[in-house]
């Protein structure tokens, strides 16, 4: 089954609102929220959890104060400045610890434990549009890339079980670890941009990333009427690069209003914007 991931480079261009609408328009699909860092798709889809699972990733160092002789080995060897010298003991700052195990191995007193790190939870849920696989990384936790990979594998299993015809994912902003993890093995990256200098700048970087990983790109210009000149600049860029322009969607306050109602834009009205979103989705399907 084909896999489509909606990404943007720049945050706040409308990825999640559009993914929600696409989930409504698509038939028998598995929905996946890969923006595990700050997931929002559940706000539109109100998933009912069928199962909840803990997500552990890596470990963290924990100094046993009763055994620590404060020799300073860990302090000296930690490359992340994670060892703090407290009043009369050493402590590891969990926000800085990368879980590399160097301090654990080199502590002459064997005073450092190395428990697994509980980083979040993931869920398989039912929504009015189909099965949804999603997660919640605990705030401040790390290794969202690993969680993204886990969710994608789970979505593929669900897709096999249900014999679904599509996996649609809402991706993370940026070009780093969670985005890279969401691209491997994806058939199409739908990049949502906006007609601003920042939008174009960030589109270029994330499109380069897709090209680097040989993932096919389709571009959607959201809020296209914000600056028509910039919008046509983005069109020129797509033409030059050979990226398919799947649609240009105008800014419409109705999108926010439907978000407040916990609905996707294609559900709330048969308005012009809903029609444009529908056309955009059909264009995406046509190149899969």
């Amino acid at each position: 089954m084909p896999e489509v991931v909606v990404i943007s480079g720049k945050g706040g261009t409308g990825k999640t609102s559009l993914t929600g609408a696409f989930a409504h328009l698509a038939q028998d699909l598995i929905i996946c929220d890969l923006d595990v860092d700050a997931p929002d798709l559940h706000i539109l889809l109100s998933p009912a959890k069928r199962s909840t699972h803990d997500f552990y990733s890596g470990n963290e160092a924990l100094i046993d104060g009763s055994r620590c002789k404060m020799c300073g080995t860990c302090l000296e060897m930690c490359r992340y400045n994670a060892v703090r010298t407290g009043h009369d003991q050493y402590l590891v700052d969990p926000m800085r610890c990368e879980g590399c195990r160097v301090c654990v191995d080199f502590c002459p007193e064997q005073a450092i434990a190395f428990p697994a790190r509980h980083c979040g939870q993931w869920f398989v849920s039912s929504t009015r549009f189909g099965t949804m696989v999603h997660a919640r990384l605990f705030p401040g936790a790390e290794n969202s890339g690993r969680l993204v990979t886990l969710l994608r594998n789970r979505a593929r299993e669900a897709s096999k079980e249900e014999d679904s015809s599509l996996i649609l994912s809402d991706g993370a902003p940026g070009i780093g670890c969670p985005v890279i993890s969401s691209l491997s093995g994806t058939d199409l990256a739908a990049i949502v941009t906006e007609p601003t200098l920042s939008g174009l700048h960030d589109l270029k970087r994330v499109a380069d990333l897709c090209t680097h990983f040989r993932v096919k790109v389709a571009v959607i210009i959201n809020k296209c009427n914000l600056n028509p000149e910039q919008a046509s600049g983005i069109q020129d860029y797509c033409r030059d690069k050979g990226f398919y322009l799947a649609g240009s969607i105008p800014h419409d306050p109705e999108v926010t209003m439907s978000m407040v109602d916990k609905k996707v834009i294609t559900e709330t009205a048969d308005s012009r914007i809903a029609k444009t979103v529908r056309n955009t989705w059909e264009n995406i399907l046509s190149i899969l």
């Binding site: 720049k10 945050g11 890596g58 590399c100 070009i175 990333l209 600056n227 407040v260």
Partner: protein, 290 residues
């Protein structure tokens, strides 16, 4: 003092606010872009870049003639970046977090430092504002090591010049965002009055709470959506330091890379007032230590 401008949700206006705050800041100030995955502050501050350098992470390089394949390095490595496979030792530099464990543990001194490029660091000047930016290499997965090096540079610069810093932080609430704000004196959380904005604002508060850094909110695009963010701030006693109305003139100026504080006297005063409120908040916090 260091002020971080952060948000859970992307696209709420961090960069707009950072640029405008830097433009009205009364003391000498450095504008720092730590949103290294998608840095945009330069689009608004338009600095003259005077120096650009490549930034590297130290990763292991193995001298195979000395390696006895004892496997101590691969036993220690938590990131699968160095591995004994049959009669060969393999390194996977893109997996490496640069902890230095393999180097320290090798009994044969067979491991030395090689490098992996993380990205670039640029410095420049935008009028009176000093400018510092990290930019992640496209294809590089890890942003925190680059951010750490930019922050190290910032620390040196601030110690030398005594200036303040305004950090444009990355979106989200996981390791890169926490890394960006962790050494600041104040966190300004930019949000918008929509369900997504509100949800991610709460996540950001939760993520930053263990840092014990005073924080305040700025509600951008006020007038759209609903009033749940504002009510939440009132209930939780989180100071809302400014409101910026939703305005197509602002959106259009933003799209062209304009600094909002430069648009009109009214906006300039609004951001000057915001700067004053931030300094007041930091002062109050110092007056009553925890």
């Amino acid at each position: 003092m260091i002020i971080s401008v952060a948000s859970g949700k992307g696209g709420t206006g961090k960069t707009t606010v950072s640029a405008s705050l830097a433009a009205v800041w009364k003391r000498p100030v450095t504008g720092v872009d730590l949103d290294v995955e998608e840095p945009n502050l330069h689009i608004f501050l338009k600095p003259d870049i005077v120096h650009e350098e490549k930034v590297y992470l130290e990763v292991p390089r193995v001298d195979e003639s000395r390696c006895t394949l004892c496997g101590k390095c691969s036993d220690l490595c938590q990131f699968k970046a160095i591995n004994v496979m049959g009669s060969a030792i393999l390194t996977f530099p893109e997996m490496c977090h640069g902890c230095g464990g393999c180097l320290a543990v090798c009994p044969e001194d067979a491991v030395s430092w090689g490098t992996r490029q993380l990205g670039t660091m640029s410095r420049g000047k935008s009028g009176p504002i000093d400018f510092l930016m990290g930019s992640l290499r496209v294809g590089e997965a890890m942003s925190p090591p680059l951010m750490r090096q930019v922050k190290d540079r910032l620390k040196c610069d601030l110690a030398r010049t005594g200036s303040d810093a305004i950090i444009d932080a990355p979106p989200g609430v996981s390791c890169p965002a926490v890394n960006a704000v962790m050494d600041s004196d104040f966190i300004l959380l930019v949000t918008e009055p929509t369900p997504f904005g509100f949800h991610d604002f709460q996540l950001a508060l939760e993520a930053f709470a263990p840092l014990n850094i005073p924080a305040g909110a700025l509600i951008n695009r006020s007038g759209i959506g609903d009033d749940s963010v504002q009510r939440f701030c009132q209930e939780q006693g989180i100071p809302v330091l400014a409101w910026i109305p939703f305005d197509t003139d602002i959106a259009s100026a933003y799209s062209r890379g304009k600094v909002i504080a430069d648009l009109s006297l009214e906006f300039r005063q609004k951001f000057s007032q915001l700067a004053a409120s931030i300094i007041e908040q930091i002062g109050e916090n110092e007056a009553c230590p925890k």
